[in-house]
Symmetry: C2
Subunit: 493 residues, 2 copies
Amino acid sequence: MLLKNILNRPQNKWQPLIKQFETIVGKDGVVQRKDELLTYECDGITGYRQRPAVVVLPRTTEQVAAVVKICHEQNIPWVARGAGTGLSGGALPLEDGVLIVTARMKQILKIDLENQQVVVQPGVINNWVTQAVSGAGFYYAPDPSSQIICSIGGNIAENSGGVHCLKYGVTTNHVLGLKLVIPDGSIIDVGGVVPEMPGYDLRGVFVGSEGTLGIATEITLRILKTPESICVLLADFTTVEAAGQTVADIIAAGIIPAGMEIMDNLSINAVEDVVATGCYPRDAEAVLLVELDGLQVEVTENKRRVAQICKNNGAREVTTANDPETRLKFWKGRKAAFAAAGHMSPNYFVQDGVIPRTQLAKVLQEINQLSQKYGYPIANVFHAGDGNLHPLILYDNKVEGAWEEVEALGGEILKLCVRYGGSLSGEHGIGIDKNCYMPEMFNEIDLETMGYVRDCFNPKGLANPGKLFPTPRTCGEAANAKKQDNIEGADLF
Amino acid sequence: MLLKNILNRPQNKWQPLIKQFETIVGKDGVVQRKDELLTYECDGITGYRQRPAVVVLPRTTEQVAAVVKICHEQNIPWVARGAGTGLSGGALPLEDGVLIVTARMKQILKIDLENQQVVVQPGVINNWVTQAVSGAGFYYAPDPSSQIICSIGGNIAENSGGVHCLKYGVTTNHVLGLKLVIPDGSIIDVGGVVPEMPGYDLRGVFVGSEGTLGIATEITLRILKTPESICVLLADFTTVEAAGQTVADIIAAGIIPAGMEIMDNLSINAVEDVVATGCYPRDAEAVLLVELDGLQVEVTENKRRVAQICKNNGAREVTTANDPETRLKFWKGRKAAFAAAGHMSPNYFVQDGVIPRTQLAKVLQEINQLSQKYGYPIANVFHAGDGNLHPLILYDNKVEGAWEEVEALGGEILKLCVRYGGSLSGEHGIGIDKNCYMPEMFNEIDLETMGYVRDCFNPKGLANPGKLFPTPRTCGEAANAKKQDNIEGADLF
């Protein structure tokens, strides 16, 4: 209703608004030319495209608050955008809405090594945090593969993961406090500099709320001491099941590696075709990478144990990277897996789902059956340690009806994950891409309760409408609305 | 207004309600005799006392939901109670309200070792979880000192801590999913069996919400592998500052002990008077206990490093407990510290506040100044690793005006914690004891936002009214309303 009213407004209504925005952020902080707006029409998932009416680039909390306040008073919907690397369309703009971009909020405001905390603005790039403190022997743990280009603000919106989240947890475990601009333009503080805070954990609610509750403008992050020693083991197996069992056995032995990743035969060959690491045996059905970190003595001992567990599960060979160069080479293949899929097939679609680690073998078998049923090859690459799957469905968009079949196949994989007690998304978020699947996981009362909480912060529904929550449209309609092509930035997972 | 209306109702209004409750939980599940209600008139903080109108003892989620639904429909306020060991009056009943006690909800519903999860009812005692899985080499990490009598439901309400929370985090870090009865009687599920869940983290909001958002009736807990090796170091220092600096240096060296505790001279002597461990030198100004766990090789290496750091900071002696018996002896003194304070002085009051670890020395100095200003000795015992202080103010309740002065002193200590960037409560919660201090830490908009979230779950304000949130009364009024005596169960911290 509200949106409809707004859509019916004359386009020139924007001119007085733009003047107001310019007063707040300066003339160079407002983008309104159609060609310049093109930059902002999609995030990392290029299948959804929409130019915003206007882009505003604030520099401070106060500027964000002033812009949001105007939107609130004039009932203008808005979307926040970080670096635009998201993979669920969470930052997709609205045709008749404002896009608030944090690209000019790139200051590291405070480094407090003694308390192991860093305070940043939301536009700060993930990797900069580690760069700022690594000289002093610290690092920021959450490491999405896009970490050299994605922003902390976006990481918070999506509660981003990464290879090291198995041992160290996802973004929410590393965010101590947040200064927020909520959708009425108020500024509030949630969390704090000590982990024990009384009252409701609103910090936790905000992390992963996908832009529907406001904008974080100052973020207090926890940093960790760089481990004394790191090594990576690479083991190859003749069945994916054996690799999966090895993962279960390593955890069952009480070892928590920094990361554990599996790639299947299709991925291995794709990677060796493209980046030729020379480390991944082409005839292996699965390769398992295990990163261990900690004290030198601890890593040495765990390396011995992990190698033994790999051998007990029939690993043909276990090689170890102890120096940074070899480690990089081992990881190179894994990091290139998605890009490599693009070389195997005209198009591919990546799914993101979670299952309980112990169900790995069964779920992979069912994914294989689905692949055969639909007639599309699926390459499997996954964060095995925490059961986060990334099946890559290979297809050709030029074939009539292919995309619809692939989307149906992707949907079946998600439902499979939920059926095995898992989750719709491990790290890419729900956004506009998966909100139609939310009822697979949550019943009406669960969603209603979440909706109430959204309304506390966002009572007019102006902050990122249409994302995260299921809209009345069905998944089929979503598929029709979506023009899927290759996902750019796909080497960034 | 609502409460006033209820208070004006005739007492016999309860009879038809009691009938309804009896239909749900059986005759033996309802307590209404005044002498029997006495058991429930206070929790672990005996300064606040109030008998409820009626106690209901459900056994299942459905029974809880049915009872709560009746309260919702008939506008009856209610309070949930676990084992009643809480230390902030969070489970204090209402004169004209229902007390829902989880004492009959003591089933461990599921043990899933493969996925390292246990599902329990809320009345299950904390320690039972570890007992149920220790044979298989697992344990439940959060360990409040009351763990042999406190319940998991209460732990969730208060987001309980414990000695091992330095390394392993507090209760919220170990709760994966919750089945909840919310105040309208609906049953909802929050969180899940995999850590990555889309949508808002309502699980996180519920943990620590002190009974104001509903009752958790099924709780999925994460269990951890028992470490291969554990040892405790005991170091004694000639200044508290040196002990504090040692704690900072251990963390700065990248070592995260399972726990780090400091006791000052007054506590040491109290403990040796009462339990005579023989381990704590009476002339030491501070004793530091450091527990290390992990692989044997890791513990051995860290033991060497910690001992060296202690010596660098002037520790007179560093002794090590490698076997369970000696470990127990080392901890015995620490665990008896509060009870021992009771032997030093007719009465004592324990405060619970948090400061950034690095401010330890400064804050202790200021506490010492406050002690002198007010003329009451203060013994200091604290979870030094996470900056959680427990100053024990010694006084005599028979002296006119003493309690008022002690409460003022306690309040000044809390304000001191907040001023140094800390928090009002480390692990005991806000309840009815500290809600008047909430504005010291949160501004009006912060509290208002929390209030909105409360209203999502608890729109009629029937679940645990008067707790957690500041009420219009001032702290002075609270002091007058409160008849402080010794805090029973004080050996349970």
